[in-house]
Amino acid sequence: MKMTTAEYDRLTKKASPNTKLYLTLPKAFVIGGLICCLGQALFNLYSYWGLNEMNARSVTSITLIFFSAFLTGFGLYDKIAKHGGAGTLVPITGFANSVVAPALEFKTEGFVLGTAAKIFIIAGPVIVYGIAASVIYGIILYLFQLM
């Protein structure tokens, strides 16, 4: 069967279920907002325990990643993500989920070529382009310092 890209686009649009924006948007907003509130509570707790701002932020990230990793292990993060959409993807917990889920999923292919090789299958591009952008920024900063 031959068809043009435009025709194919029309077919996929017909076949894929209609996304209901009035449902997905508020859910993403509320669930994402709640995860950020949890982050704020942790940050306040660690600040109260005497950590400086930078360290409190780092330990907050580590705690959220810990929660996300174990929810992923129990298969619960996927269940929340079904409703949360971007609300569970965009926070750092979503990043953690994108690391832990393939680590667990590809365990059957071995701990070296499965878990370890596939652990960064989604997070890899994020790190590559994040670091690349930060190096470009650093070089620009350095050049401005010279001037």
């Binding site: 990230s61 810990f66 994108s98 930060s134």
Partner: protein
């Protein structure tokens, strides 16, 4: 009351970042991986331009928990490292700032892979 406003703005701004992500998922063909890449790079660029810092001061975790906050942390790390070590800092700052998050994700990833069984995909 001040305490309440802190959580309120963390909720609203953090929620808004997720709302934009949801719009990208629903209205474009961007895959989740591409959205995450876009968020981190946007965080580095906004952090570098000095736009993101006021948002962090205003919304706290509402700005640092979304992945743009990770990008902002990378930019801040590079800024600090370049000020201390010059050009070398451009190469060390990013990973130094991201170390906690990246290491946590890898370590907990391995622990979960060791301790848990693969989830049943049928449910």
């Amino acid at each position: 009351m001040e305490m309440f406003m802190e959580y309120f703005w963390a909720f609203v701004i953090g929620g808004a970042f997720c709302l934009v992500g949801q719009l990208l998922i629903d209205l474009t063909k961007l895959t989740p991986a591409r959205i995450l890449v876009a968020y981190v790079v946007a965080g580095v660029v906004l952090g570098g331009c000095g736009v993101y810092e006021p948002i962090v001061e205003f919304a706290g975790a509402g700005a640092t928990v979304p992945l743009t906050g990770f990008g902002y942390a990378l930019a801040e790390g590079v800024k600090k490292a370049v000020a201390e070590d010059g050009l070398l800092g451009a190469f060390t700052g990013g990973f130094t700032a991201g170390a906690a998050g990246l290491t946590a994700a890898v370590v907990f990833g391995i622990i979960v892979a060791l301790c848990f069984k693969r989830g049943d995909k049928t449910s």
